[in-house]
Point group: C2
Chain length 398, copies 2
């Protein structure tokens, strides 16, 4: 299949592009390389050294004999270039990672809140509008987030996108209806994914655009079968307070002897997936595009759930580390339960890698190898969700 990977320079986008290429798909990466500029802005670098896009593509050609195309386009703000590319590529599928993907980054200050909404919404809208304008039958595979479900108080296994609810008519008789799961996002980043959902719902109904929305859990791990084949293919690994996801951050902390930073009680339960499973899920979604017509297909792209405090304990015990509880910069419940269905991706053939498979030790080895690249000042999360959360940590004077 001809596949465009928007955001193909990022943590999930790059290994997904390689995996799709390895499996015979004709891949073109579309990226404005903004994630690298965010590193510069934040004064931090990936734990792992990452090559330039041209080095990456050259290395992949050398090890695999496969060509990957590249177009430097700001999908959110350069609609005309996007249209020209889509018109010439006429892709069977577009994998859409071209969104700002960090919750703390999205909450730092007004500029970052505004950037996240503007970038993520316009990127999605431009893509869909262009597909409609060109009359393409392209299948859009979008990276959503488990965070769109928000804080559920009913003890359910979160379904995949839709919920059957009942309510009474004006005579009091009960009726059932399938609705998009009521969204209750916990950050501007998650909000942007909730907004995306409504765009997809509308354009699927109005124009028959075919969309798969993958509600992904927190990704852990770094390398995949493809990125391991050459040092120039190495994936990025974020450990900083903005882009570092919780499990990867714990591993780096353990590797450099920094106490594991648990936010609040650690009672938060989160959904997880290993990056090796992420790339397989993306491929399974792309290759099953023919299944999608009419309603948006939503799949929960996660393989397991864990309480943060349990993860911290596991990392501490496995790798040897202290656990340090810090005030939670996020506006969120101290404790929550979370359980979700992932039948759709299992049904497509996903065989989950779980945390107990020894990969944690491999991650720690990678972290130790590049420990000298870690700036421990960048580890604490300093993006406060609101005034109260800031005051709780920094006091009233700030």
């Amino acid at each position: 299949m001809r596949v465009l990977v928007l955001g193909g320079d990022g943590f999930c986008g790059w290994p997904s592009a390689l995996h799709l290429s390895e499996h015979g798909h004709d891949v073109t990466i579309v990226d404005n390389l903004v994630r690298r500029r965010a590193d510069d802005e934040l004064g931090v670098q990936s734990l792992t050294p990452i090559a330039t896009m041209s080095e990456r593509i050259q290395a992949w050609y050398e090890v695999s004999g496969r060509q990957i195309g590249f177009a430097d386009i700001d999908v959110a703000h350069d609609y005309d270039s996007l249209v020209r590319l889509l018109d010439s590529a006429r892709p069977d599928s577009v994998v859409h990672f071209a969104e700002q993907r960090s919750a703390p980054y999205s909450m730092k200050d007004p500029a970052h809140k505004r950037y996240t909404i503007d970038n993520n919404l316009n990127a999605t809208n431009n893509l869909i509008v262009a597909i409609i304008a060109l009359g393409l039958d392209t299948h859009v595979v979008h990276l959503g987030s488990m965070g769109v479900y928000g804080y559920e108080t009913v003890p359910v296994d979160l379904p995949e996108g839709y919920l059957t609810v009942s309510y009474p008519d004006r005579e009091g008789e009960m009726h059932s209806r399938d609705i998009l799961y009521p969204t209750l996002p916990g950050s501007v980043y998650h909000l942007s994914k909730s907004l995306d959902q409504l765009l997809f719902q509308f354009y699927a109904r109005n124009d028959g655009v075919r969309v798969t929305d993958l509600h992904q859990g927190i990704v852990w791990g770094t390398q995949t079968e493809e990125t391991e084949r050459d040092p120039r293919l190495m994936n990025r690994f974020d450990y900083d307070g903005d882009y570092g996801t919780v499990l990867n951050r714990f591993v780096v902390e353990a590797a450099v002897g920094y106490p594991l930073t648990v936010h609040g009680s650690g009672g938060q339960t989160r959904a997880f997936i290993n990056v090796r499973d992420t790339v397989r899920c993306i491929r399974l979604a792309v290759e099953s595009g023919d299944e999608v017509s009419g309603q948006v297909r939503v799949m929960n792209q996660m393989t397991e759930t864990h309480r943060v405090s349990t993860l911290a304990r596991l990392v501490a015990d496995t790798l040897g580390a202290e656990v340090n509880t810090v005030a939670n910069p996020r506006q969120e419940a101290d404790q929550n339960e979370l359980s979700a269905r992932n039948d759709r991706l299992l049904g497509l053939g996903l065989e989950p890698i779980t945390l107990r498979s020894g990969l944690l030790e491999a991650e720690a080895e990678l972290a130790r190898q590049f420990a000298d690249r870690v700036d421990t000042k960048r580890i604490p999360a300093k993006s406060y969700w609101n005034k109260n959360r800031r005051t709780a940590v920094e006091g009233d004077s700030v």
Copy 2:
């Protein structure tokens, strides 16, 4: 109260600004005058001649002795100017009309779809982010739309914003939960209002921002008590296929001897409100801002519902006109029922003006007075919702 009216040059914004001023509020209009440029773009003009903003403000001062301020700011794209204004004005309330408000305009082509999403979302996000950044306790009164509820198949009286639904937990036991009414918007314009809802939900929960979201029906009528006081205060009246709302369009058609254009079967049922009630509702919302804390307050700003075919018949019989059925350019059901609660605004003291109050004849008189300004070529709606709707009218060659 100190009140900013964003979009205070528009059809609802201008008379609302005057009404708030008349009732003693200290009003500043914020508008980039884009609605006037849309007239130029579409090659059409308001049926009624409208004065420039400086003439309008001068005339209001002459007839009322009251000052209205004006700031020419693009709220969606000039955040810094918005922040400076909010910081110096420190308003008790901001009435937010600063959104592209036509469904057909939003569906014309890629550029208009993109403009509507970009403008409406960034305007709302900029406003809320600025209020949070400045630490203001400003109450935001936003114009939503009855269209966010979308196409309801259950015979309910639409509640005001929230719906209590039931669903089973993993053991099969039923639980109740209040959710935002499941949105199913019918155009990119209505979609933008559904997106706004999620922004408000998030920022109310995360930062305690106080918001009233007014889900308004289709506005009919032109003049209000305030705009009638001087010809330079006259409100705009849109009759064209993009901005003309259904009832006002029928009145102009009757006045110039053009057959009433009913889309499809005319079986669509819509919610309506007279512009004189719109301005009262805005004032009631502003003046009751102290009631709002925590959850977003949603009020249905409509006073009656009518089937389009019934309205056409009423106008035809009252004013003398032919009724002409044309292919529906919109992707929508041929027929729907619609009934909604408006208890909240009634509870605040709204006494609805209904269609039977003789105002229809006054509207027709206004239309006859300015009939020479009507360009009948601009009456047909030529914005097609999708490829199939276009083909049904214009054939495959287009």
